[in-house]
Assembly symmetry: C2
Homo-oligomer: 142 residues x 2
DNA sequence: ATTGACCTTCCCCATACTGGAGGGTTTAAT
DNA sequence: ATTAAACCCTCCAGTATGGGGAAGGTCAAT
């Protein structure tokens, strides 16, 4: 049986699990190292991922792609697995993260605007005078 | 003479230089380590910053605050000091950086929207059912 | 038996600093 | 003159999230 035919197995090596979760093998190994997803081990020392492990890896992949930190993910995961959780706890984490994202967007937009002004004013030819450098050297000059 | 009265000196210790450039002392020392701003040294080994060094530190602070990487800053600095530069070289760096910023803004906005939808749908009370966790577990479900 | 594709651990690398330990120097006050 | 505070120095380790690669064990197919 080839590795790539093992789609219906419930136990698999790291590469198959990583492929199913759409994550790099290195990342999956890292998540084991830091105690996020620690699969069973086979007699030869190989990691042995279950279908449930893969589910959790996918959950992590999606959480990370939404920008949650590893520590946020750890909390979300623990809530995910706690069927007595309060949804307000989840919402609090997500809202806190949303505020962070909004803050970053705002910062980037401010940078982008300043930079855009400088770039617009720079003719960008062979001559040395450059409003971008002038602006970086002294932002208060007009 | 107190340190804080040394505003008119053209040679100063690291703390005064850092204060003038509005940068942490640690950062200024780091910029020396990586060869960005390497001041003279006094007989006792202390760094001795000139007014010109402070200018450059300010230039760096502003460039960094616009999100330029240290390596970008190194190039901008070298152009800043090269009076035969072509402004097009500066503009190219700035435009490349602007594209990066635009990309990040776009990514963050996408995250923010997805997250906003999840948060909006979560009632956020004591009950365990939670659209946020559901969305993270399976993003394709409605 | 061998080859190639797996798997393992371990260590270094990246960004741009930040914190702290351990120790020398200068300044101000006594 | 002494002492304490406030400087300064270098070096090491850590942050977050993995990526790259070496050295070596295992497995499947030829």
């Amino acid at each position: 049986m080839r590795q790539t035919d093992k789609w219906k197995q419930t136990h698999m090596n790291i590469q198959i699990a990583a492929t199913r979760a759409d994550l790099p093998v290195k990342t999956v190994r890292y998540y084991d190292d830091i105690g996020l997803v620690c699969p069973d081990r086979l007699g030869n020392g190989y990691r042995d991922y279950s279908a449930r492990d893969v589910n959790i890896l996918q959950f992590l992949g999606r959480s990370r792609s939404l920008g949650f930190s590893i520590e946020d993910c750890r909390q979300l995961l623990s809530l995910y697995e706690d069927h007595n959780r309060a949804s307000s706890d989840v919402k609090a984490i997500a809202e806190r993260h949303m505020i962070e994202i909004d803050k970053k967007i705002k910062e980037l937009k401010a940078m982008r605007e300043t930079l855009g002004n400088l770039v617009t004013n720079c003719h960008g030819d062979d001559r040395p005078d450059c409003p971008i450098l002038d602006g970086l050297a002294n932002p208060d000059q007009e």
